[in-house]
Symmetry: C2
Subunit: 307 residues, 2 copies
Amino acid sequence: MRADDMVMCPGGQAALSSALRALAAPGDTLLVESPTYLGALAAARAAGLRVVPVPADADGVLPDQLAAAFARTGARLFYCQPLYANPTGATLTAHRRAEVADAIRDAGAFLIEDDYARDLAIDGEAPPPLAADDPDGHVIYLRSLTKSAAPGLRVAAIGARGPAGARLRSGRLLDDFFVAGPLQQATLEFVTAPAWTRHRRALRTALRARREALLTALHRHLPGLAPPAIPRGGLHLWARLPDSTDDGALAAAAAAEGVIVFPGRPWYAAEPPAPHLRLTYAAAPPHLMDEAVRRLTRALGQETTRS
Amino acid sequence: MRADDMVMCPGGQAALSSALRALAAPGDTLLVESPTYLGALAAARAAGLRVVPVPADADGVLPDQLAAAFARTGARLFYCQPLYANPTGATLTAHRRAEVADAIRDAGAFLIEDDYARDLAIDGEAPPPLAADDPDGHVIYLRSLTKSAAPGLRVAAIGARGPAGARLRSGRLLDDFFVAGPLQQATLEFVTAPAWTRHRRALRTALRARREALLTALHRHLPGLAPPAIPRGGLHLWARLPDSTDDGALAAAAAAEGVIVFPGRPWYAAEPPAPHLRLTYAAAPPHLMDEAVRRLTRALGQETTRS
């Protein structure tokens, strides 16, 4: 991927919506991990795409299931967050990366690699993007700064080569011409300043402290909700709820207690296999986590009593 | 239209693309003035819409033709620039405004009013937007600052009420969430500063000088290209070319002479009735206009000789 292959966009959601529109037509099938980013599901539905979920686990999407889904559906497009996926935190493991790339190449398909969490490593170093090893231009690479820099810095980039890149570039002109110059300039200064490296180090330390505080609080108050595999980066934990819990009602009850969590259902393209909650450790300082989980426990108690 | 009815967008093109996607589905029919803004034609085609042109003249779209087109096509959406339309410079006259509003209401349709030129009046005051007199919420109002402020200030707003407004707001979330906060803040400071009023006065003076210089040069060197009706604002003159002129080849020949003009063909949804050029007086200072038209004369001479 060279600098010339990148197109600037006003944020990751814009990059995603533009990419889906440029690479698929209404009625086309999009494969996604299950669960996956709900903003991708919504953008795909808005673009008129048929969304087909592919099973995934703590090591990312299952390559044989992906190959089977390509064969079964005739899909030519797969959307994936291989690094610290939102909501599960899963990272595609080294041995699966090549198999996923093979499945995509064999299907003559494109991968939209949504690398939203590139700057959000906590444990060790993040593996390189799949786009870094893509000799034939099968990967459309989305890279956002919003999560690691500032919510108001609506700047992202799409990397795409060949005919896919050309389609994306003309589509972007119709979507909004270009990102405001001053905003691009501010972004460039931001990521080339020495402070950017320091900021990412500080971010890692802060994310680790918050993740650990949430895990500690879960083990203390709600051990059943602590995920068996700890995400090595990102912003969220994905908590399996007791069967028959109404995740939407629980999220509402938690909100009434002053704790914002996200119900699991909207992150599934089809019927969820079980109720889940997305718990965002990134949004609050460590010293609030114990109280937050106490309140979540109260909300869960109310919901369990009610059902 | 209240403040609550407005949605911020990253520029007028984004506002337009979002509005078309939110208000029409692939296969739907969109009525447009003929000719009209080519960015609207391109966005409509990208959204999978069938574009049907409605005749217009120097007083804007013809209301009876608009009503007939609604009846004939079953369209529910009309895109229009009632003020200093791009490319023709036409302004919808007072007596046609009510008839256009009637035609839209009678068809149960929506008007996308692209008010891109609100700050670009040269002669007298611009009439109010049609959205200012829209009791039933039939008007979706697009307002951009890019043309009057700075090309890099990619900020616009959509005004929309009722169910159309709700559809637009949820569509915008999928398109790019929201416009970068610092950019919105800068915009707000810009348009609320005393300098904004001064800037618009200076803009009017500068636009008038450039328009007059271009008209003077046309009357001197190419009187056949001077439009019979002078636009009372905006950025462009729309010049009818001699029959059988190839407008695309002429624009290329002019570019080779160092003069950038736009061929007329892409501004028509269907076959153009005659060849045209769009001449942008706004983009160069008055003292360059005479030389620009001399060079355009040379290019036209070459094209006429060749054909």
